[in-house]
């Protein structure tokens, strides 16, 4: 392998890992909801799109930095998630019907409405937040003069990645150390047992849906400085989130992180070596391979090695 090829490979891996960190954040939100509520939230990407429009609106109106809008968009998404859960999803959980997949179809409906309303209000133009640090990057040659290869590290990508890591750690503390966090995990493990132990399961569901929405909302704010925004972007990210949860193992936070990183690196590799257009196909090839070969997800492999919890 020549040094130019090595350079391309390493650069691809770096950008893949940075992308994977953000994907992990999206995946964690979905996996939390899936673990506690046992439903797949197919409006997940659309919720992210809503958060991105909030960040975009704050940027254009008040010149608020997209990274700061995390503090506004994430709580806003929490409220939106709570409302959706209280007034739309909860009633359907109680309704009896032939098809148990009604809840999933319901979230599709919610996603459709959100995406379409975004088109109506913001038109389907591509938007972005032109921050002045968008093209800033660190180069390996700046630190190591005689470096045989040249690698770069984009400034906004790195910041997004670091914030994603910080949010993940904060979430881990919340789930592991606080009462509410423990109740959420208990509900995910066994709904009825949690109920018997005095956990307010109904409230935990509402909080979890809000929390999952807030996480994907935060991910949206981290994505917007490095990505562009249009109303139909949600569907793509819903699928990404779903692929991550399958890849990582359903309902597992650790799995979502690992799955996100794997997917990020894999997508980055397909984009470099097979062409940009094929990246979504690579995503689904990995998805179907995961379904066939590791149906329990990466976390089941870790468990077998006694690494996972």
């Amino acid at each position: 392998m020549s040094s130019a090829q090595l350079e391309v490979l390493l650069q691809t891996l770096i950008s893949g890992l940075l992308l994977g960190g953000l994907y992990a954040l999206i995946g964690i939100g979905m996996t939390l909801i899936m673990g506690v509520m046992k439903i797949i939230n197919l409006a997940h990407g659309e919720l992210m799109m809503v958060a991105m429009y909030i960040a975009y609106g704050l940027f254009t109106l008040f010149h608020l930095d997209p990274y700061l809008s995390v503090f506004i968009a994430a709580p806003a998404l929490f409220v939106l998630g709570v409302l959706l859960q209280r007034f739309l999803i909860n009633p359907v959980l109680k309704v009896d019907s032939i098809l148990p997949e009604n809840q999933v179809i319901l979230t599709v409906g919610i996603g459709m409405v959100l995406a379409n309303l975004a088109t109506v209000f913001f038109t389907s133009d591509y938007r972005s937040t032109p921050v002045d640090y968008a093209t800033k990057a660190w180069y390996l040659s700046d630190f190591w003069k005689g470096s045989p290869i040249e690698l770069s590290l984009s400034f906004p990508w790195s910041i997004s990645f670091l914030i994603a890591v910080a949010i993940t750690i904060a979430l881990w503390f919340f789930l592991a150390k606080t009462d509410t966090g423990k109740s959420i995990r208990a509900t995910a493990q066994d709904n009825d047992a949690a109920l018997l132990m005095g956990v307010n399961v109904g409230r935990m569901r509402v909080i979890t849906f809000g929390l999952g929405s807030a996480l994907v909302g935060a991910a949206g704010c981290l994505f917007i400085p490095i990505y562009y925004l249009y109303p139909d972007l949600g569907g793509q990210f819903t699928l990404i989130a779903f692929v991550i949860t399958i890849l990582g193992g359903l309902g597992s936070t650790v799995g979502a992180i690992v799955g996100g990183l794997i997917l990020g690196v894999f997508e980055s590799l397909t984009a470099t070596y097979a062409g940009m257009g094929w990246a979504p196909v690579g995503r689904f090839v990995i998805f179907i391979a995961a379904l066939i070969f590791i149906p329990g997800g990466v976390v089941s492999l870790l468990r077998r090695q006694k690494w996972g919890r």
């Binding site: 098809l99 919610i110 196909v281 379904l291």
Partner: protein, 315 residues
């Protein structure tokens, strides 16, 4: 009453068959053709989703494969696109078997999402495989078989009649009972000696073939296909589900009623100037309302509806 019910499909078929003779406008005929085409797709979905309980979010995949079979035969093979209809049966059933092999080991929502992914994979593949599908340019059928829509109407009507008949026959046979058993409890069905994998694959293949036929018809009728149209997630896969959900899951007439409502609604919304862009919002709200209030659709929740309207005898 029983006799009447038996001949109702034939009566409706006869009524529809003489409709073009009374001189409908081209537009009305187009709406009718779309309604009938959607009811074929709906009936096909209902066979798999409603009766066998395997909810598919990716029927656009089968629709698209059928449509592209016809399109590629015309564009690359130089034959008439009508050959796509018989050939799509072969292609789509082989394709469905492969999909079934991969996806039918999944249950419930996971099957739903795997099929959704298949639909997206096919769209992206069709967009990128330009040597075969012409990519985003799409395939245009330059020579239309008929200028008048009347003959297209009869073709799609025949197709719908065959679909209706076969679905009814299948559901009323032993196979249909297997399907419902699988839907109600897969483990129980398995323990009673039903080869669930086999019958789920059968349901998927049948459903896919009818959907593919509708797709092949679509190519011939519209004369233009591109990946974004025939592999569309919202405009094909989700609309298919809505057709069945609104009309009535696991009922014979549900998909027909659903497609009448959906096609007319789409047309009405599109014709209102300022609301045209928002038609997905209306679809989504309708879907949410239906799921919350009439989870089994209009036909499935008929007793409930009657009670609400106070038409039926008080219970």
């Amino acid at each position: 009453m029983g006799q009447m019910k038996r001949y109702l499909p034939l009566a409706i078929l006869g009524l529809l068959a003489i409709l073009p003779l009374v001189g409908l406008s081209t537009y009305a005929l187009h709406i009718l053709i779309m309604v009938i085409m959607w009811s074929i797709v709906g009936m096909a979905w209902n066979l798999l989703g409603g009766y066998c309980g395997q909810v598919s979010f990716g029927h656009a995949a089968f629709f698209g494969v059928g449509a592209y079979t016809a399109g590629i035969i015309y564009a690359k093979g130089g034959a008439s696109a009508w050959w796509g209809m018989p050939l799509s049966i072969v292609f789509v059933s082989v394709f469905a078997m492969v999909i079934g092999f991969i996806c039918l080991r999944l249950r419930g929502p996971f099957f739903a999402l795997a099929t959704l992914a298949i639909g997206v994979i096919l769209r992206v593949t069709a967009e990128n495989l330009t040597s075969l599908t012409e990519g985003d340019l799409g395939i245009m059928i330059r020579e239309r078989t008929w200028i008048e829509k009347t003959w297209y109407f009869y073709v799609v009507l025949t197709l719908a009649a065959i679909t209706f008949y076969l679905v009814k026959r299948v559901i009323e046979s032993r196979l249909g009972y297997y399907f419902v058993a699988i839907r109600e409890d897969q483990d129980a069905a398995e323990s009673l000696g039903i080869n669930t994998t086999l019958y789920k694959t059968v349901a998927l293949c049948l459903s896919a073939v009818f959907t593919g036929l509708a797709g092949a018809f679509y190519t011939n009728y519209m004369g233009y296909i591109d990946p974004k149209v025939v592999f569309a997630l919202h405009d094909i896969s989700i609309v298919t589900i809505m057709v069945v959900m609104i009309g009535g899951v696991a009922t014979f007439w549900g998909p027909v009623i659903g497609s009448v409502i959906m096609v007319l609604l789409a047309e009405v919304i599109r014709s209102i100037p300022r609301l045209g862009a928002a038609h997905h919002t209306f679809f989504g709200i309708l879907l949410i309302v239906i799921i919350i209030f009439l989870p089994n659709g209009i036909m499935g929740d008929m007793p409930k509806l009657k009670r609400m309207m106070r038409i039926g005898k008080p219970v």
